[in-house]
Symmetry: none
Subunit: 145 residues, 2 copies
Amino acid sequence: MRRSISDRIEQYLKVLINRSDAQQIEIQRAELAETFSCVPSQVTYVLSTRFNGKDGYITESRRGGKGFVRITHVSTKARDCSHLHEDLQEMIAHMLEDRHMQESEARFIKYLLPALFEDMDEEQQQLVLTSMIKAIVRYNRLQSE
Amino acid sequence: MRRSISDRIEQYLKVLINRSDAQQIEIQRAELAETFSCVPSQVTYVLSTRFNGKDGYITESRRGGKGFVRITHVSTKARDCSHLHEDLQEMIAHMLEDRHMQESEARFIKYLLPALFEDMDEEQQQLVLTSMIKAIVRYNRLQSE
DNA sequence: ATAATAAAGGTCAATAATGGTCAAAGGAGC
DNA sequence: GCTCCTTTGACCATTATTGACCTTTATTAT
């Protein structure tokens, strides 16, 4: 669906990162630009718009001979979510770490949910949490398409 | 007289959506306008009058090169509830205007709610909506301090 | 060691390619 | 004529692409 060169570079890099062991890759800017037949500065553009801290990525680089750009996806190992209803705050923090949620969203939900749950019994809370996980997964899929 | 251009655009888009796997399509505004020999803003008009949240549709877009408009049809169950849902959408819109809420938060909630309501009966939905509205009001107050 | 040179990556502003907004004009059915 | 929906267009906002010029680092020549 997403067809611009920037989109394709983004996709390409994210696949590489996901396949990597440490959620980290190193690339050559000029080489990548060559691969996608674009100017090197477009790679910089993609990095700054799609791999910034807000999106859960850290980029470092070195100029000159043997230069490189390193991209790291900061995330912790996914955890078992079977007991979500027991510790809501922890769950949200966890999702935030895993970048299944953005900073601003997390902050919002963090505030919203306790207020929501005030009026709900445990069963209802569990229902809401389960649905929410599903929704977030779907949302995430849409975002990363 | 024959149906209006807006009607025909609506029909066209709905057929495309129904035929799609994920009840979701992406179009180019200018291209669609060209197809129907109208100005691009008429497409925007159709989207806002026939594909808004009230009708069970979510639209997202991106400007600039290789921009697009994405239309998603959300399930009927999710929107067949009380006026509270509409009220909430309106609140979100207002908060966006007043910058008491971020785009990403609003987008997130728009996705979250239908999925959340999928598994809930009307009574539960009402409870959630009421609590959410209360919570948002409080959140709003905190933000504006 | 130092100076020159080559080999990276970075910045920034101009331009192009989209979609959005809003208010005014048009038109069909009372 | 009045009202509501539609149609239009001028102007706006956002995102992508490109290229000239700059900075940093490694390598080579003296």
